[in-house]
């Protein structure tokens, strides 16, 4: 099989697995909803400040993202991993996972945006830029979390490990996202935000290149 047919088969497989185990995706969606409400109720007294909205939104996205992606390697048994190992190229497999997780995070983030705007108001002034920030954020988080969860899935206590391994690494992405989305919310004025977008794309590029090169070493058991 060539790269593309492998890639699309693996991508299709991700969707099928998700569809079969509907409780997992429902759980994540419910997690997003609960978190939105908890965050809203906890921050009710500082309502109306756009920057607070911004920070809380990205924290919701961060925690929802980590929970959604961490299952991507943990949910598949060792035997099935071995089966893939004989059939497909590891780099193709990880690219399919990253693509799937990007789409998943994009949907979850839009969902989080929708519900959070419903309860906490919608201070976004530049919707186009904000949508772009959400897309870039989904890509960055998906790559970083997929890579880290593939390492952590091999270890004994993977949930703690994902958090301690990924949070420091995710920080450059998170800071740039916060900056860009403050611009979209008109909290800060900056016309040269293209530079931040390029920074973000550069970080994403480095992360995906590292994932592509290093995943074969993680996978092999």
């Amino acid at each position: 099989m060539n790269f593309f047919s492998q890639f699309f088969t693996l991508l299709k497989k991700e969707f099928i697995i998700e569809f079969r185990q509907r409780y997992a995706i429902s759980g994540i969606v419910l997690y997003v909803f609960s978190m939105v409400f908890v965050v809203y109720v906890a921050s009710i007294s500082i309502k109306g400040q756009a920057q607070v909205w911004n920070i809380l939104f990205w924290l919701i996205v961060l925690f929802a993202g980590i929970n959604a992606v961490v299952k991507s390697f943990v949910q598949e048994s060792g035997a099935r991993q071995l089966y893939y190992y004989q059939l497909v190229d590891p780099s193709t497999l990880v690219l399919a996972k990253v693509t799937y997780n990007t789409l998943l995070l994009l949907v979850l983030n839009l969902l989080a945006y929708g519900t959070f705007s419903l309860v906490a108001g919608n201070p976004v002034k530049d919707l186009g830029l904000f949508a772009l920030v959400i897309l870039l954020g989904s890509i960055g988080f998906a790559i970083a979390f997929t890579f880290i969860s593939s390492i952590a899935a091999k270890a004994n206590n993977s949930a703690t490990l994902v958090a301690i391994l990924s949070f420091p690494v995710i920080l450059p992405i998170l800071l740039t996202l916060l900056r860009l989305s403050s611009i979209a919310l008109r909290v800060i004025q900056d016309t040269a935000f293209q530079k931040d977008i390029i920074n973000l794309l550069a970080i994403d590029g480095i992360l995906i290149a590292l994932t592509f090169v290093l995943f074969p070493y993680i996978w092999r058991d």
Binding site: I151, N156, L165, P168, I203, L214
Partner: protein
């Protein structure tokens, strides 16, 4: 081994020269702090490390400078003692700029102490009531300054004697970078050729690098305590450094959470490459995107060429070399102890 002895000798030199060499004379402060246009004032200048009374007071010249075209020279200079002198000025009636007030630099030129400057030392307020044009801002331009070239460190306001920390704080980060580069090199080697030796070297270099990171953070906090007023002021560089150290602490947690050492070594090697690629944005890219108290932040190199003079270079560069060699030595000892531990446990 010759290089171990060399590193110790270099570091002894760095410690002796770094602590022992005096600062150049400078101006600590002046009094009063403000004056009015058209007035004549007696400006008290307090020197630091200075020997004002070494020469006759006629040879000491004092200026109030606005810019290279606008400066006034003092009339009479009266030396009280080595660190205090009185200079009388007749401030012109009009300010060099049409503003409410201007800030003037004080420049003292001394035949043996050399020239010293205190920036923005005296504020002169405009006097709107006076309508004369008495006085001239460029009657006695600054000229024939005595530049003394000797083995001493520059005097800088705000940091004063803590300038010596340059030889200990900054080389820590150079050494850390060299240690982490070596560690990443051995991690890549381990992935290409999985023998325990490569893994042990990677671990030894990461541990040494992390030690330099903590020492760099502590020396930085000590410096910040004196120069910025607080040991920890949530400066972006402090924050990102703390995060970078967390990244490397997680490396050891990851290693320890595997039952099979080989699997742990392989995944730790992968994570080490990943961690190194996040170290570069954390230490060198993000700090430039935000305002920082650090010298030369926000857009410039973290350490500008204007921060060092030739005397400082003679101590600073050896210090980097000395600490890096010491780090390699420490990593080598750590590597040997790891190998012995493995041999005792019959792993290797």
């Amino acid at each position: 081994m010759w290089w171990k002895t060399t590193s110790v000798l270099i570091l002894i030199y760095v410690i002796i020269a770094g602590i022992g060499v005096p600062l150049k004379p400078g101006i600590d402060r002046v009094a009063p702090l403000s004056s009015k246009a058209g007035q004549s004032i007696e400006l008290q200048v307090f020197g630091y490390n200075s020997t004002f009374s070494e020469t006759a007071s006629e040879k000491i010249r004092v200026w109030l400078e606005f810019d290279s075209l606008h400066a006034i020279q003092s009339g009479k200079v009266d030396v009280k003692n080595d660190t205090t002198l009185l200079a009388s000025f007749q401030i012109p009636a009009r300010l060099p700029q049409n503003k409410q007030s201007v800030l003037l630099n004080v420049i003292v030129d001394h035949p043996t102490n050399g020239v010293s400057l205190l920036p923005a030392a005296l504020e002169v307020l405009a006097d709107t009531a006076v309508n004369t044009d008495a006085g001239n801002w460029n009657e006695h331009p600054i000229s024939q300054l005595h530049v003394i070239k000797d083995f001493s460190y520059p005097y800088r306001n705000v940091i004063y004697e803590t300038i010596r920390n340059t030889y200990f704080h900054v080389p820590m980060w150079f050494a850390l970078m060299f240690m982490f580069i070596a560690s990443v090199y051995y991690s890549i080697q381990y992935l290409r050729n999985p023998v325990a030796e490569n893994d042990r070297r990677a671990v030894a270099f990461t541990e040494t690098g992390l030690l330099f990171g903590f020492l760099g953070l502590v020396t930085g906090m000590l410096w910040a305590h004196y120069a910025w007023g607080k040991a920890w002021s949530n400066d972006i560089k402090q924050l990102m450094t703390a995060v970078a150290l967390l990244v490397y602490l997680a490396y050891f947690i990851l290693r320890a959470s595997f039952d099979e050492p080989e699997k742990g070594a392989r995944l730790a090697a992968v994570y080490n490459i990943f961690a190194f690629s996040s170290l570069v944005p954390l230490l060198y890219i993000i700090p430039r995107m935000f305002a920082s108290l650090h010298p030369g932040a926000t857009g410039n190199p973290a350490f500008g060429s204007e921060d060092l003079d030739n005397t400082m270079r003679l101590v600073f560069y050896p210090s980097i070399i000395g600490f890096t060699m010491l780090g390699v030595w420490m990593a080598q000892i750590r590597y040997r102890s790891l190998r012995l531990r493995d041999r005792l446990a019959d792993i290797d």
